[in-house]
Symmetry: C2
Subunit: 203 residues, 2 copies
DNA sequence: GTAAAAATGGATCAGCAACTCCAGAAATGA
DNA sequence: TCATTTCTGGAGTTGCTGATCCATTTTTAC
């Protein structure tokens, strides 16, 4: 693709960023289809033609938003799991996730999952980008489990690949139920049950 | 709500059903925003005004589609869990879910979750309807676990409310990853891990 | 300093999709 | 039978939104 073949001056890069950030925020709140480029234009404080100067069309902007959310969400998760090496730390992570949903009033769910669900069957590039984000996320969790193997918390023969995938699935399913029910209860149930299972494996 | 205050003749009810079924199918494949009423019109073989004769606007049709999918999906799951009373039966259910996704080439994911993700923050009635579907689904799973308590497979003091929620979350998260990665592997990982956990509790 | 490239503003276009209207056909019920 | 209600067909209309154009200003590079 490489549509970013244009050279960007610092000012241009800043403008591009403002557009992507505004679009990300609006699409998180109003959905992709519910976000018009006019909204993005106003929110980012740019003119219509700017958007088309930096992105060939709306789909290209959406893909940039996916990349942006991948970095924003997964980078944070990678950071959280980098020093995650005990069951207690896992429970602390759980607390953070739930507290965050509480602050959001259970609205929006996972930004990456939201984009994936909305675009999954319509835009294959988008789906692929979302899958990449999930892959990075799963790897981050797996590295945490690997550290727990290294320090003896988890048995070495454990299939942490499968366990990390199951953990991510529980989290995502929990977030979905949390969003739909407007309650953190199901998210808590999902994460606690999965962490209990990991704790059982540790014993 | 009760917008179905109009009397429906058998013929009218059939037409209404055809519209809802066509809309459900199209929205599953192309998403809600990607489905135009013109498509629905053609697919159902009716004229434009028919749709507005039976539904005040597109949102009303969407809500009817949610009700339709709730019945279609959850009723099947209720039936599956009605006679689910052993770990082996749980694994057989897992096989069915995975086989179904295989047949779909991992496309579309869960119809209810798809509608919820697309409409969650835009249409509160829709979100509420989706939540209701999930609630019924969770209850079905819980009843299955209750039967397993009755026949001694699971300990009586177990919190099956939480366990059923966690199982549904694992399933939904697994389906999402399955759809995004176009592979049943993550779905298998999620369901197997959760069923293993239930099996541990049974021992 | 100056020419080329990049960035910006804003008016405008064009197509599509939700929704409307109304006339006429079919069914219902007495 | 006949009046009333329900159902159907399809040609509009309207507003919105993605996309375009081009003139102008700002920045870059030599």
């Amino acid at each position: 693709m490489m549509q970013t073949a244009l050279k960007l001056t610092p000012k241009g890069a800043a403008t591009r960023s403002r557009i992507v950030e505004a679009a990300a925020e609006l699409m998180f709140v109003n959905g992709v289809a519910g976000t018009t480029l006019e909204h993005v234009r106003d929110e980012a404080g740019v003119s219509s033609s700017q958007i088309y100067h930096y992105f060939v069309d709306k789909d290209a902007l959406v893909r940039a938003v996916i990349d942006y959310q991948n970095d924003a969400v997964v980078a944070e998760q990678e950071n959280a799991f980098a020093r995650l090496d005990s069951i207690a730390a896992l429970r602390a992570w759980r607390d953070e996730v739930i507290a965050h949903q509480d602050r959001m009033n259970c609205k929006g769910g996972c930004p990456i999952a939201a984009l994936g669900s909305q675009l999954g069957e319509l835009d294959h590039d988008a789906r692929s980008g979302v899958a990449q984000g999930f892959h990075r996320w799963q790897a981050a969790i797996r590295h945490g489990f690997h550290a727990m193997q290294d320090n003896g918390t988890l048995p070495a023969e454990l299939d942490i690949e499968t366990l990390a995938t199951a953990m991510l699935a529980s989290l995502q399913g929990g977030l979905l139920l949390c969003q739909m029910h407007r309650s953190t209860d199901p998210l808590r149930a999902a994460m606690d049950t999965m962490i209990d299972h990991v704790a059982d494996l540790a014993a």
